[in-house]
Amino acid sequence: MFAASRLQQESDEAAGGDTCGPVLQAKGMSKDYGPVTVLSDVWLDVLPGRIHAIIGENGAGKSTFMRLLAGYAEPTAGTLSIAGYDVRFSRPEHAQQAGIVLVHQEILLAEGLTVAENLFLGRELMWNGMVDDQSMRRIAAEKLSELGCRVSPNALVRDIALADRQLVQIARALLDDYKLVIFDEPTAVLTGDEVERLLGIILKIKEQGAAVLYISHRLDEVQRIADLVSVLRDGKMVGTYPAEGLTQMDMARLMVGRDLAALYPVKRLKASNVPSLEVRGLVVSGYAKDIFFTAHKGEILGFAGMIGAGRTEVFEGIMGLRPAHGSVVLNGRIIDIRHSRAAMDGGIGYLTEDRKGKGLLLNEKLAPNLTLSALTRFHSGLMMRKAREQAALVKAVENYDIRLKSFGVKAGQLSGGNQQKLLLAKVLLTDPSIIVIDEPTRGIDIANKAQIYAFIQRLAEEGKTCIVISSEMQELIGICDRILVMREGRITGEVTGEKMTEHEIALLATSDVTTAASREE
């Protein structure tokens, strides 16, 4: 009640006394899963022509709340109302008919169908009683290029990169008429270029007079575009504030309920010159070629580049997860990358960017997920030691601050950010000497980001090699000793020290200046 009245008042101010009513009101919404309460008594007014950010820690209940608003789940208590009438959305279509669309945090597309088919799924364009593939492909191509996505509408979703899938998902949501668009961490998998386009599109939606609910852990984005900011903490609404005047630090404090230390750790001096991983002339057919680089013990090496630059594929190739050839020397020994276990056995741990598709068994409990790539360590005699696994889980939950309401949940029931933490714990459980982390903080809240950065730093200090692939340049600049930049399947340069600036990286990621010298050897 308190939150609602306060919201009303503040939003009036923000809207400059605009009398236009809210497009949607959430009144006292609660959601329980069995004995677990995920949301309790949340009130919210969504105003037209406003970008309303919802922020909160991982597991605070943001996604759950959004699902309730868009009809993907039904509340345990509370109602929604539109223009003073109570409504119930028992299916997403009902919400869609009311003009409410949701872009999911996790990708929800049919992998076996094409991009265009996915875009128009359930609302195909018809022509004389037939599906009008031609028009659908044309419109799909248009919509996607508006978002800066270059995939062919005929490509199977299975074959396109994660970032492109996210853009397809966004295009899909924006296809229909809408009064309210909900974005649940749309930028987590995007790089600068796409983020900018997307933010431009969101502003355009706002100009058209529609409402936007925007969830992101990238507080700079929130600061740039939001008109209003609501904060969820532990399933409860902390309050709604006008974005103006709210610094990122303020937001972080509201989310976490305490002051935060600096986001990035203080850089230490580079520790060693002992090479741990040397890659010579790696070719990942169709994705990357001429890859030469060396990583050292105790080093944090960054990989920057735009979406589709081939960074993920390079490391999947090294890990033996996709066909590749070239010489890879691991701690002085050449490994045969045609064998999928060679790199893993040699001590490289790889954290995939696609946690849902390739990282976690969503229908499994947490412990089996945690120990899956390190089974031998929880094994003595012939048997798996369940007690040891359990202890490892408890420890991981503590170490990585995985927020859960009960140990009995399945991995798929964790919030997005907590899934990411579980995955990180899973990879580190193999005790790798070289850790490749693809998008380490995707969907992780700001407090935990700091924690993960500190963690990476600690690993490096222990003498391990950390390779970080990230689409967030600031993150790379903040923690890396050295950054390699890739473009269109090649390494185009290296930046260190003073030259580690966004400008320099962007130049290498996009221009044709390939300095042979910057490539090793």
């Binding site: 049919a110 359930g122 270029d193 983020v195 340049m473 966004e502 996009t510």
Partner: protein
């Protein structure tokens, strides 16, 4: 965060790949024809080919229906027994009406067949979708039921069609139009309609979506229950059409009619390129698959290399080799 504007290379892909999957079974078919010719030149005689393709019509028609079911993520083991049951019902109906209606009993019987078939398919569909029972078990159950019904109806013997109808009905299997046997035309027509539904109508999209990812389909406002149930009903209708063509060929229904057709049908669908776990269906591939199966059997009869006891084994080997060729030619 600064703006990076640049150009990711435009990805030209996939169109080419779709082609391959679709051509796979036809290449296998071609390879088989060549092998067949080498084994016995009679193999490619017009009569022989016409015979074989005509025969494959039953399996092809049923398998076209199965393409819907499988593409939507289901499975139907009951088709063989259902074919026997529908054949029985149809013959009994025609026989009982023949004295009164004469030859008109035949079209009336055909209508009955289609209605009964659709009904049976609908039942399968509802058990699977509303009852939420694993399709394998559900249709294994109804397979037992249909098989029991035809055994009961025939008292364990045969249900022959009335002599007065025989001659009039014969052309449905033995007739030709423009030199092409009628069953071939019928199966082409069925496949054409099916590919229209699957590729040109909304329903086809729903089918593929439900098979590819139930969650996505549900969130896109597609009713999984409805889509999958309709697929089973289509399957039932296809079985009925096959039964209609079947009656004049053997002139009777017996409790062993259609035994093991379900395996042939599923094999045809899979050889045709549709994945058993659901997703996009390949109607024409399915038809090619059915013809391949029948050609292999024909080749066994025409060749003299194989001991009678080993025929089934050699067929198995050929099918596996055909699949290997298809897989690794990609």
């Amino acid at each position: 965060m600064s703006v990076i504007t640049g150009s990711a290379a435009l990805r030209q892909e996939r169109d080419w790949n779709i082609g391959w999957t679709d051509f796979g079974p036809f290449l296998a078919l071609l390879a088989l024809l060549v092998v067949g010719f080498l084994v016995n030149p009679d193999f490619l005689s017009a009569t022989n080919l016409a015979n074989v393709i005509t025969r494959s019509a039953f399996i092809a028609i049923i398998a076209v229906g199965a393409t819907f079911v499988i593409s939507s993520g289901g499975l139907d083991l009951s088709v063989g027994a259902m074919a026997a049951f529908i054949t029985g019902i149809t013959i009994m109906f025609m026989n009982s009406m023949a004295p009164e209606w004469g030859v008109w009993a035949i079209p009336a019987g055909m209508a009955v067949a289609v209605i009964v078939g659709t009904g049976c398919g609908l039942m399968n569909g509802l058990i699977v979708t509303v009852g939420r029972i694993e399709p394998f078990i559900a249709t294994l159950g109804t397979m037992g039921i249909f098989r029991a019904l035809i055994t009961y109806m025939s008292d364990g013997g045969t249900i022959p069609i009335d002599r007065s109808l025989r001659e009039a009905y014969r052309p449905v299997y033995f007739g030709t139009v423009g030199g092409i046997p009628l069953p071939i035309l019928i199966s082409i027509a069925v496949a054409a309609v099916a590919s229209f539904i699957l590729y040109k109508m909304k329903y086809g999209r729903k089918c593929a979506a439900v098979g590819a990812n139930e969650d996505v389909a549900r969130y896109s406002g597609i009713s999984i229950v409805k889509t999958r149930t309709i697929a089973y009903a289509i399957q039932g209708a296809c079985v009925a059409i096959a039964a209609i063509c079947y009656v004049p060929r053997l002139g009777a229904a017996t409790p062993t009619t259609g035994v093991l057709w379900e395996l042939q049908v599923i094999t045809a669908v899979v050889i045709g390129g549709t994945a058993l776990r659901g997703g996009k269906g390949h109607v024409w591939g399915t038809v090619a698959g059915a013809v391949i199966l029948e050609l292999i059997a024909n080749l066994m009869v025409l060749s003299d290399f194989v001991s009678e006891y080993l025929v089934a084994g050699v067929q198995g080997v050929i099918i596996i080799i055909a699949m290997l060729i298809q897989r690794f030619s990609k």
